[in-house]
Amino acid sequence: MEDLKLTKWQYRTSIREGLRILSLDCGPEAKQNTLSKQALEELNQVLDVNLTDHPRVMVIRSSKFESFCAGMDVDEIREIVNDPSNLKQLLNRAHEILMKIRQAPYPIIALIAGECLGGGLELAMACHYRFVIDHPKTRLGLPETQLGIIPGFGGTQILPRLVGMQNAIKVIVGGKKLSAKEAKQYGLADSLVDKWEALAIEELDFGTVILDFFLPVKRKVSFLERLPFGKKLVCSMARKATLKATKGVYPAPLLALEAVCASSKSLSRGLNEESDLFVKAANTPEAKNLIDLFFVRKDARKATPLEAKVYPLDVVGVIGAGVMGSTIAYAALTAHNKQVYLHDTYVPSIHKAVRFIEDELAREVKKGKMIKGVAEETRNRLTVGYGETFHSLLSRCDIVIEAIVEDMAEKHKLFTKLEELTRPGAILVSNTSSLLPSEIASVLLHPENFCAMHFFNPAHKMDLVEIAGIKQTNPEIIAKVLNLTRAMGKTPVVLNKECVGLLVNRVMTQYLMQSIFNVSYWPSRPNLWMLDQAFEMCGMMMGPFKTLDLIGFDTGAHVMKMMQAAYPKSLPDLKDFKIADDKSTLGTKTGKGFYIWKNGKPVKPNYEFAKRLDIMPKKKHSLHGEIVAIRETILSKMWLEAMDIYENGIASIDMIDLSLILGGGMMPNRRGVIGRAEH
């Protein structure tokens, strides 16, 4: 044991006889533990040494409480995706090492605390027993499909054996992350231990209690899977559901599903098939693009324009408690230790916002993602105010985020008032999308404290925040706002220059307006619902008309009008297209738009509305080529708009693509609007 030289692991003997503890430790500078090639090789060494001098029990754990292991090193994944020649060899080696764990003559226990994802979970699954620490931060999952690849260290084979095929599909294909309680429920965790028990486990005398712990665990198998053709049925059902969800755009979930289906074969054949499928997935362009994006996003999160020490913003004011305002307030509350003041003139919106925040917190508690005490403490940090007069807390705010209606006069009125009421030096930001930030700031006496900070709806779920300073903005302000964004757990994209609509809304408006324009002026009146589908088939999260329904026609028309006024050259003129005339047809808000909506899902096309707008297709099915041609026309217009942003020096190509993907769901599989055209 002494001659082992380990860099990624710590291997030691406990005070108790026969218990050895192997803890993964990637060093203090790494926030998360990762399972690199080297770590695997070192694990192999340990297992080899143990063959001759084996302990009674070995515990595999992490030296970090927050992270058991976040999976394979993404840098290494990128390497193998870029050069997939000796991939098969690598996978076989990993299988070999993990097999050594399975076949060890002594029990090996994984003690899981914090995040246990991807390769980490596969390592844990190779162990004989998994003890999971019951903590809200504990997460078990196999998120490989989000990077366009599939689990490669036997995850697709072992998980179905542990929790049954249906649950395994949820985790592997659906990307579900299990909390500690869910893991126990599924049968993935053999035992739940609390934090203090986990600390004490090292002192536990396994010699005496060993029998109690290591009784064979009974696996629950659902009724369906016990039927003769049950597993096949489960697979075919899951395949249909996956195809519907991904629209065939992403190959990885389907490949992962195939691998899961192979788990009914013997382990060695299953593993072999899994590695074949892994190679297949790694060779797809989607995998390359998604991994690329992962790094772009990581860079965006890291970027700091200012090296100087930046003080955190502790008191956050949010003015306007609509959907945007309340979700921003919620996102700010969940950031560590921020006092939030939410204000609205109308009582009902405040009421709705408080209900939303309280319900959302209660849901988090119910899901096991938050402790009740933390939820209560979070709620205590929220102060609300309504009416014409502001609460005195406003004068203590470090930053005030405005999220009121998109109306220049209203904004001017508010910002004049805010500047009077806030303390000197407080940052004022506007969550505007379709107004020019510097015009909003024209009423301010101190425009150096102003910038635009654009969230996306719903702000607590959408990852992106666009930040744009105006000419006078102090760079320190941008740095502070950046810090706040990061504290809220969002990805900031900083624009070099301001422009109307910032990044996403410019391209998004182009997308929507061009779609309407093309559908209404193309002589054959192409089928707009087919166009929606065509866009979704190419990787857009949502077709243009579905998006319009979701935005709501009143808001949409307002934004389009303002954007058209700002960019008369590039955006088409849709003056005679009266979309928001009928108040009963405003999109999802009223349940009717281009689609009929029920329970938040589009049920069927709304022909009536199309007829009224005179865009009803002449034929039931338009030609596929025609639809594709229109789609490409629109995409090229969007590309032009994005390139215009780039050429004006507003943002780099990577940042434009990243924000379009995070903010608009635009073709992550093809690496965004510009990336797609380039590759």
Partner: protein, 419 residues
């Protein structure tokens, strides 16, 4: 001139069965005797406040006197009980202040006690007439065989009549003149001032949250003496949330007032010492707060707008003074209904008379009757106590206590920090 005060925890009606008002009052009185041993010999008057408990034994018809005797004070000193509905507690304090100012008495014990779970049920006039007839017949001086038929007749009539009693709590909470329940009045006021259900619920939530914070931080411990093993107010809903509040059904169809945004039915007792300044100094007692009768007022309004009485009362105080509500640091107002307090705030905001505003940040910093409960007569004294303690704890200088009074009145009084 207020030296000190203490109260029992406010208990939801029914927490302790078979409770009497005098018994509840003796706990804080005893605590004051313990804290100030000289009080027993110095005390020369007792002013009580109670509304509905002076019917049954052991509370009798003058609660203050009962308390005086039970507490073992000198039987030669006077004791009286005041009643001006919800304002009784504050009025009792003011009564004592006036008497001390006049120099009639030097050390007055103010005891406000209300046990709403002990309210009686009564027979109405027709029922009572029937009982009286039966009594009359049974007392006739005649041989039994001659009395028997009429006795049987009246007895049968008595047995046949409906025995449904009237609940005095219901009688008390209904205005005898305009025949409207207090909740109906609150509904009307909410409608008049366009106070939505949402606003009332938000206010109620804030009250609960503030009371919770004050309880958990131990702020309310300063004014509470444990009573039968209970040491904190038990009406506070610790896990109140807005969804739960908005799901409640309104008390009246189409109305906005719900059990969630109105005060609770509660038992509680408060005792305060109102003492001449020189005497306090001589006895070495501290001075918690000072009140002057000239900075107090009782205002009236029509009974249908019961909740706006405080507006009139506050205006009367500040009309012959240069200061305004904005100069006051701590405001304690009785949250009979959320609608009522919000209407008072709106009234001061809308009418620009330079009386200042009832700023939500100053009003009821430690929660109010929606969370703690509203034992009718004890509330006024509790507000004085809470306000005085808040002044002491925060170091603020001036406070204001006000209550709306059923029947269309309002009582208000200013406080100053003692030393």
């Amino acid at each position: 001139m207020i030296v000190d005060g203490v109260r029992t925890p406010f208990l939801k009606a029914g927490t302790i069965p078979d409770l009497s008002a005098s018994e509840m009052a003796l706990t804080p009185v005893g605590e004051l005797f313990k804290r100030y041993p000289k009080l027993k010999e110095s005390c020369d008057c007792v002013v009580g406040a109670n509304i509905g408990n002076q019917v049954l034994h052991p509370d009798g018809s003058n609660l203050a006197r009962v308390i005086l005797l039970k507490a073992g004070l000198d039987p030669r000193i006077p004791a009286w009980t005041v009643n001006i509905n919800c304002g009784s507690g504050l009025h009792a304090v003011l009564d004592a202040v006036k008497n001390v100012e006049l120099g009639l008495y030097k050390c007055i014990l103010v005891v406000a006690s209300e046990v709403m779970s002990d309210y009686v049920a009564v027979y109405n006039r027709q029922q009572r007439a029937q009982f009286a007839k039966l009594y009359e017949v049974s007392r006739k001086k005649a041989p039994m065989w001659r009395r028997l038929p009429s006795l049987m007749k009246e007895w049968t009539k008595m047995k046949m009549m409906p025995h449904k009693p009237e609940w005095s709590i219901k009688i008390g909470l209904t205005d005898p003149v305009c025949k409207l329940g207090m909740d109906e009045i609150a509904d009307q006021i909410a409608e008049e001032y366009k106070i939505s259900r949402e606003e009332q619920d938000l206010f109620a939530l804030e009250s609960q949250r503030r009371a919770k914070a004050a309880t958990l931080s131990g702020r309310l411990k300063h004014e509470i003496v444990p009573f039968r093993g209970i040491d904190q107010d038990n009406g506070i809903r610790f896990d109140q949330n807005l969804s739960a509040l908005s799901k409640l059904r309104p008390l009246h169809k189409g109305g906005t007032v719900t059990p969630g945004n109105s005060s609770q039915i509660t038992d509680g007792a408060v005792a305060l010492m109102v003492v001449n300044e020189e005497l306090a100094k001589k006895n070495g007692w501290p001075l918690l707060a000072t009140m002057y009768s000239r900075f107090s007022s009782i205002g009236g309004c029509v009974p249908e707008r019961m909740g706006l009485g405080p507006v009139q009362a506050i205006k009367q105080i500040f009309s012959h003074d240069w200061s305004t509500l904005d100069d006051i640091d701590v405001i304690e107002t009785n949250e009979a209904f959320a609608a009522v307090v919000l209407a008072q705030q709106k009234e001061f905001e809308l009418v620009k008379d330079n009386f200042g505003r009832l700023s939500p940040e100053k009003v009821n910093r430690n929660g109010g009757a929606i969370a703690l409960g509203h034992p009718i007569s004890a509330s006024g004294a509790r507000l004085v106590l809470t306000c005085a303690k808040e002044l002491e704890l925060t170091g603020a200088t001036s406070g204001l206590v006000t209550l709306c009074v059923g029947g269309g009145q309002g009582v208000a009084a200013c406080l100053e920090r003692g030393e």
